[in-house]
């Protein structure tokens, strides 16, 4: 790795015991790195699990508690939101499958504790989209205002419909029918994901199977163009893998599934960068197997150079002079791999023009 000094937050997530020797000035930096990358509340829960929370100085503890207070309130609202969506789904006779952050919270994964996010993501079969949309309409969600171009962009090319917002609660829901855009080369068969979904005990909620949850998390992060939450998402993967890998036969199942879903490359990246950055325990042979999916050594070196910068905590103390460039290259790449050039080129021109004329925010 080219970045000379490993950020404090990365060290503390690898080995929480290091907090025992920090000065207040180092605590101040640790809190800022964690806050800016959206893992301050999560970090508190990790310290609690490791019986270290009593060792945190008061000055830092109050900020951790504050982030947890906020996250707990979000979790309460989420429970209510999930109930409302369940009600809207009753007549559809369709399993309600949650994705990403909502799934981690609903399934009570470690990665769900203290994770803050703004919208709920669900996965439904593509041929049921219209029904789902009208059921949500009926229960108070309305399509957000998007112009004709964006409508077409979503409906024809993407893996989700334009986000819907609840008229009273202002909460948003993203209805997906796949985990990658329809026009992407690597778009998997989403019926495989739905078939494998698991019911959360005593709830009318479903989530992707553990191996699919990891793969989706990987697919999402390594197709991402913006890395504001990159480090948090990498930490999601680290926590999911640590939680699930205790199960017998886990690694074979995971690798096999990546092949079935055509997501070998994202899984390679996920295992490569969780082990490289967060020292996630992954068996040597698994890493070697994955490498076969990504045989070009030079390309591997380039991606290491880019991702080891882009996936650092989103804080100035975790950046070098190339971080901005790396994130920019990955932004372009994310569009490149999500869309064919015939669609990408006009799309980027349009976005660029809107930004230049300040009709759209940075």
């Amino acid at each position: 790795m080219a970045i000379t000094q490993t950020p404090l937050l990365v060290l503390a997530l690898i080995n929480p015991e290091i907090i025992l020797d920090l000065t207040l000035q180092q605590w101040d930096l640790l809190v800022r790195q964690a806050r800016r990358s959206g893992v301050l509340a999560r970090f508190g829960y990790i310290l609690k699990r490791n019986d270290l929370i009593d060792k945190v100085p008061q000055q830092a503890l109050k900020h951790i508690n504050s982030a947890q207070t906020y996250a707990e309130q979000i979790a309460i609202s989420l429970t209510w939101e999930v109930e409302c969506i369940q009600k809207a789904f009753v007549k559809l006779e369709l399993p309600l499958v949650f994705l990403k952050g909502t799934a981690y919270a609903v399934a009570n994964n470690f990665s769900g504790a203290g994770r803050v996010f703004s919208d709920v993501d669900i996965l439904v079969p593509e041929n049921r989209i219209a029904e789902v949309e009208s059921a949500l309409n009926f229960s108070g969600w309305k399509a957000s205002f998007v112009d004709a171009y964006d409508q077409r962009f979503y409906r024809e090319w993407m893996h989700e419909i334009p986000p819907m917002q609840h008229i009273q609660r202002h909460t948003s829901i993203d209805v997906h029918h796949n985990i990658l855009p329809k026009i992407s080369r690597y778009c998997p068969d989403s019926s495989l994901l739905l078939l494998n979904a698991v019911k959360v005990s005593e709830q009318n909620s479903w989530v992707l199977a553990p191996e699919d949850r990891v793969i989706h998390s990987a697919t999402h992060l390594f197709h991402e163009g913006e890395f504001d939450h990159g480090f948090r998402d990498l930490s999601d993967l680290d926590l999911l893998i640590k939680e699930f890998s205790t199960e017998e036969g886990w690694w074979d199942k995971l690798l096999q599934r990546a092949i079935e879903l055509n997501q070998q490359v994202p899984l390679y990246y996920a295992l490569r960068y969780t082990t490289l950055i967060l020292k996630t325990p992954v068996p040597r042979e698994v890493l070697d197997d994955c490498k076969l999916w990504y045989p070009n050594g030079i390309q591997r070196k380039i991606m290491d150079w880019l991702f080891c910068r882009a996936l650092m905590p989103n804080h100035s103390s975790c950046e070098d002079s190339w971080t901005g460039f790396a994130r920019w290259v990955l932004y372009i790449r994310s569009h490149w791999i999500k869309m064919p050039v015939r669609i990408l080129a006009p799309h980027l021109c349009r976005k660029g023009w809107l930004r230049l004329t300040e009709q759209e925010d940075y």
Binding site: L24, Q25, Q26, R32, R36, H63, S66, T69, Y70, E72
Partner: protein, 289 residues
């Protein structure tokens, strides 16, 4: 761009301001001159980092704008360059309201006399800052003109003394009412009209550790030519109104509710209408005697 860090104790918070803009440095050194300034040492924990600077070549120099960075983050749109110092004050309000969920925060002015706290809560324009500045220049101790900071365990109010921000006519009214008060620069055409900051007195800053409990919750309303009237408000209504004016009540759940109820329970609650500042002060002096 070379910038110099200014480390300040503001109420219960340690704040670091970085800026290369001369007027911001000058305003801070004059309005905050009686505050505790720190050296950057390993034993110091800084709560909030704020940087005020030109955003980039285009916005900074051609359009002459200024940006407020909260530890590198930019939650705001840039403002005209002249408003650099008020931007620091607004940035600090924002960062406290968004990150301090270990206290209950209510949008209100707070003053104290003889150990009893008066909370003035009202919509912008209701005259709460004016009333607060007037009371503070007539023997009441300022806690804050902007937010009531409440300890969730003891329900005490915590002083968070800052320059009092006065808008439009209130600037002239207060400088006439209290000629000895010191003002910073005037900023015209801000989102809130003309703005100026009144320098807090040294004794308020020195007593920043002395907390107190509330005795009155008042909803003031300035109304031209009205008589001075003070009418009781039901406690339930008061709790609801304070909750509506809170920055973080929604996040505190039962804790916030209990704290607010305890605070209101021990307070007399009023609606207050006034037009004459002298009469208004007399009313509150009478309450406290």
């Amino acid at each position: 761009m070379k910038s110099k860090g200014i480390l300040l104790q503001i109420g219960p918070f340690v704040v670091r301001l970085d800026t290369s803009i001369k007027t911001v440095v000058e305003s801070v050194y004059s309005l905050y001159s009686d505050y505790i300034f720190y050296e950057d040492v390993p034993s110091l924990f800084i709560d909030f980092y704020i940087r005020i600077d030109r955003p980039n070549l285009y916005r900074g120099y051609l359009r002459s704008q200024v940006q407020c960075y909260i530890d590198g983050n930019t939650p705001f749109k840039p403002l005209p360059y002249e408003q650099a110092f008020p931007f620091f004050e607004w940035g600090l309000n924002w960062v406290i309201a968004s990150h301090v969920h270990y206290y209950l925060l209510v949008h209100a002015a707070v003053v104290e006399k003889n150990g009893d706290v008066l909370i003035l809560c009202g919509k912008p324009g209701a005259g709460k800052s004016t009333l607060c500045a007037a009371l503070a220049s007539r023997g009441w101790r300022l806690f804050s003109d902007e937010m009531a900071v409440i300890d969730l365990k003891t329900n005490e109010l915590i002083p968070c003394v800052r320059p009092i921000s006065l808008k439009n006519q209130a600037i002239d009214i207060i400088s006439e009412f209290s000629p000895s008060s010191i003002f910073g620069l005037s900023y015209k055409d801000t989102a809130k009209g003309t703005l100026s900051h009144m320098k807090p007195k040294k004794e308020w800053i020195e007593k920043a550790d002395i907390r107190a409990v509330s005795k009155w919750v008042v909803f003031p309303q300035y109304k031209p030519d009205s008589a001075t009237t003070l009418n009781s408000v039901a406690k339930g209504e008061t709790v609801i109104e304070l909750a509506k004016n809170s920055f973080n009540y929604n996040f505190l759940g039962a804790q916030g509710f209990n704290s607010l109820c305890a605070l209101v329970d021990r307070s007399d609650c009023y609606r207050f209408e006034y037009s004459d500042l002298g009469e208004a002060i007399d009313t509150f002096d009478k309450l406290s005697s």
